[in-house]
């Protein structure tokens, strides 16, 4: 069982038979000074003169196995901060057609709204200059001060039409569920710019990740993130976000997805009983989810029995839902190249490797 950690990272095993679109590749800010060219002098002085060194979070512990797969840490800076290594370890060997960058710089941990706006803008300008303009295979998720939806909308208006940005990144942990009317200015901006909302593992909003407070171990937070995704999905559908913006697309990134069938059964049942409370939700929630939501394949919370895995995939009720991802440089226990894709019919594996994402992100 534990040998899973000792094996080579899957992407190092050589060329794949088909091109892929990698929907979850991390671009980490190497150190706060890298943002200085893109930050107003006010914030540069802050960092130079005080203990404040930019936002902080703990959802990828620096030396935990989840954060850096073997061989992914560059000579300088954290794993995921080197474009050169990304090319060597993912883009070239995997024949990546496109890779969508995710930067988990914890803008949402900044309660100072001016800081949140300044750092979000700096990260986006840094992504354009240091990543998008240097490799045409890259696309990116723009970051926003999601805790202040009006200001997030303004940042989307500022950079959302840059052709390199295909989605807006929202950390799954938040102070309020994303379906809430507080966030409707944010959804309106995402829809108006025809971007995808990419809801991603993690977040540093200050409130606990469990409905019963703070868990002790990181492993609990890692495992329990799936339930936060479930709650966000429940909120977004129940509040009628997809009824208000019928073209809206949402990708859940690093959410896991084997929980989805049972979640849809329960949600559909509740809707049958309680739909008078949310009369704008016109169809069973599962129909909204299959139409408006996609899921990256990692982490793969798969049953050990392959037949059961195929049953779960059939229970999803659609072949369009899953998007290929390496989650580079992060590491998870299961390897889709061994544990998922070879098990599937060839046409479904092709859809997951590239076709679903090409249609979803219009690449």
């Amino acid at each position: 069982m534990r040998q899973v950690l000792e094996r080579d990272a899957p992407i190092e095993r050589g060329r794949q038979p088909q091109p892929v679109i990698d929907c979850d590749v991390h671009a980490e800010v190497p150190r706060v000074e890298a943002l200085f060219p893109y930050l107003p002098p006010y914030w540069v002085e802050h960092i130079q003169q005080s203990v404040f060194k930019g936002p902080t979070d703990t959802y990828y512990p620096r030396h935990a196995p989840v954060t850096a797969r073997p061989g992914s840490v560059p000579e300088k800076g954290p794993a995921g901060s080197s474009l050169e290594l990304l090319r060597q370890q993912v883009l070239d060997p995997l024949q990546v057609e496109h890779a969508i960058l995710v930067c988990t710089y914890a803008i949402d941990s900044l309660h100072n709204p001016d800081a949140a706006v300044a750092f979000a803008s700096a990260v986006n300008d840094w992504l354009i200059a240091e990543w998008l303009e240097k490799d045409s295979r890259l696309r990116a998720s723009l970051v926003v001060p999601s805790q202040i939806p009006q200001l997030a909308a303004r940042e989307i208006d500022r950079v959302g039409d840059h052709p390199g940005f295909v989605q807006v990144l929202l950390p799954v942990r938040s102070q309020h569920p994303y379906g809430s009317r507080l966030f409707h200015p944010l959804w309106e901006a995402i829809a108006r710019h025809d971007l995808v909302a990419g809801i991603h593992f993690g977040g540093a909003p200050g409130n606990p990740p469990f409905p019963s407070g703070w868990p002790s171990y990181y492993a609990e937070e890692y495992a329990g993130m799936a339930q936060v995704f479930q709650s966000q999905l429940c909120s977004i559908v129940s509040e009628g976000v997809f009824d208000l913006w019928p073209e809206l697309r949402v990708t859940l990134i690093e959410s896991g997805w084997t929980w989805l069938p049972a979640f849809m059964w329960r949600f559909d049942k509740e809707w049958r009983n309680l739909r008078r409370l949310v009369p704008w939700v016109k169809r069973p929630p599962s129909e909204y989810i299959r139409e408006h939501v996609r899921f990256t394949i990692l982490p793969l919370d798969a049953p050990p029995d392959r037949q059961q895995l195929l049953e779960v995939i059939a229970q999803l009720g659609s072949e369009d839902l899953l998007l290929y991802a390496t989650d580079y440089p992060h590491l998870h226990a299961a390897d889709p190249e061994q544990d998922l894709l070879p098990v599937l019919p060839a046409h479904l594996a092709r859809k997951i490797r590239a076709e679903n994402a090409r249609a979803w992100y219009r690449l």
Binding site: P211, Q230, S231, T258
Partner: protein, 360 residues
């Protein structure tokens, strides 16, 4: 062992014996508790009432089954004779386990919480258990104050009609935290199960991302809350520390259990270095230590998915039947389980599993 009521020949033929693991009894008025409270806490209850973490009110249409108001005019669930007739007689329920939802466990004054717990348990003995031999009950405990909770557990030792202790769905800390270990230690010592019933806020929102807006979200939420509690119980090593502990998840659903076990196993494979206190795969602890009540029953749109779900759970031996009487979303024994479920599986869920779990 208490004798069950004689059943009619018709019921013998047509209805299987059932153990109902979630029956909600209520008082018609809080004055019913007064005889069991000291003057100090009786006056407090009269003057200040119950005060727990507040700030979550969801407008809703549904409340109790519309036919559950007793002819006596008392509140639904508050008339033991009518409950026995409408629920136990009607459905051949040979044991019904009372889980009153009282606000105990959520009182901000620890001593008041403990006094209320004692009063509720005394009231259950006098007004329910002594009057209807088919009833069993959960011990109501002030679980946020474990020393007081253990004292209440000890007060009930010897009355075998109490089969478990009751937690809310969302304690103030995740259920595996060491704060609660003295309660688990007492439960193992006295042969009691630990039950967590859906709902009931210990001060945190029902999601890991804040308060939702609508009751439908609040009603989906227990599935996520209980998963968080099980993650905590497993990864904190509670089942290593208390190898005889039995945990019962009530009214939280169970469709999520397989994917949770898969996720915990893959998480453990990745992060085992943080968890040296675990000796087995997380799914093994859940399979061995955790039971799930059926209501609200899972309703996949294709019947074969229900059978797949049971296989993915590793069998049906940890499912126990519950009606949730008299609440609006109760499950009827006639309609809840899928028709194509084999009779021996129905027998397990209706009776055998709960009999073994509660040693009835």
């Amino acid at each position: 062992m208490v004798q069950t009521q004689p059943r009619t020949a018709t019921q013998e033929r047509t209805r299987p014996a059932i153990i109902d693991c979630d029956v909600h009894n209520e008082w018609n008025s809080q004055e019913e508790l007064y005889p069991y409270l000291s003057q100090r806490w009786r006056e407090h209850l009269q003057t200040f009432g119950m005060r727990g973490p507040s700030g979550a009110t969801y407008p809703r249409f549904q409340n109790r089954r519309t036919d559950s108001t007793p002819p006596s005019g008392r509140k639904p669930g508050s008339d033991v004779a009518f409950l026995a007739q409408q629920l136990l007689d009607e459905w051949n329920i040979v044991y019904g386990i009372l889980n009153p939802l009282t606000g105990v466990g959520r009182q901000l004054i620890p001593e008041f919480d403990a006094a209320l717990a004692t009063a509720v348990n005394d009231w259950m003995v006098a007004e329910w258990l002594d009057k209807e031999p088919r009833l069993r009950a959960s011990i109501i405990i002030p679980f946020e104050y474990p020393d007081l909770a253990v004292a209440e557990i000890k007060r009930r030792v010897g009355d075998t009609r109490f089969v478990q202790v009751q937690f809310s769905g969302r304690p103030a800390e995740p259920m595996g935290r060491r704060k609660y270990w003295p309660i688990y230690e007492a439960c193992v010592e006295y042969g009691l199960a630990v039950m967590s019933h859906a709902f009931g806020s210990g001060g945190h929102p029902i999601t890991g991302c804040g308060w939702p807006s609508f009751y439908i979200e609040d009603h989906v939420g227990p599935a996520q809350s209980m998963q968080a509690n099980l993650i905590s119980l497993v990864f904190e090593g509670v089942f290593e520390r208390f190898p005889e502990l039995r945990v019962v998840s009530v009214e939280n659903g169970f469709g999520w259990a397989p994917s949770l076990m898969w996720r915990l196993d893959t998480t453990y494979k990745l992060l085992y270095r943080e968890l040296p206190h675990l000796k087995r795969l997380p799914s093994e602890y859940i399979r061995e230590h955790v039971w799930f009540s059926t209501q609200p029953i899972e309703e996949p749109h294709r019947p074969e998915y229900f059978l797949q779900l049971l296989r993915h759970m590793g069998g049906a031996d940890r499912l126990v039947f519950a009606t949730d009487y008299p609440h609006w979303d109760w499950d009827s024994p006639d309609g809840a389980l899928p028709a194509r479920l084999p009779d021996e599986v129905k027998q397990q869920i209706f009776f055998d599993n709960a009999k073994a779990l509660y040693r009835l």
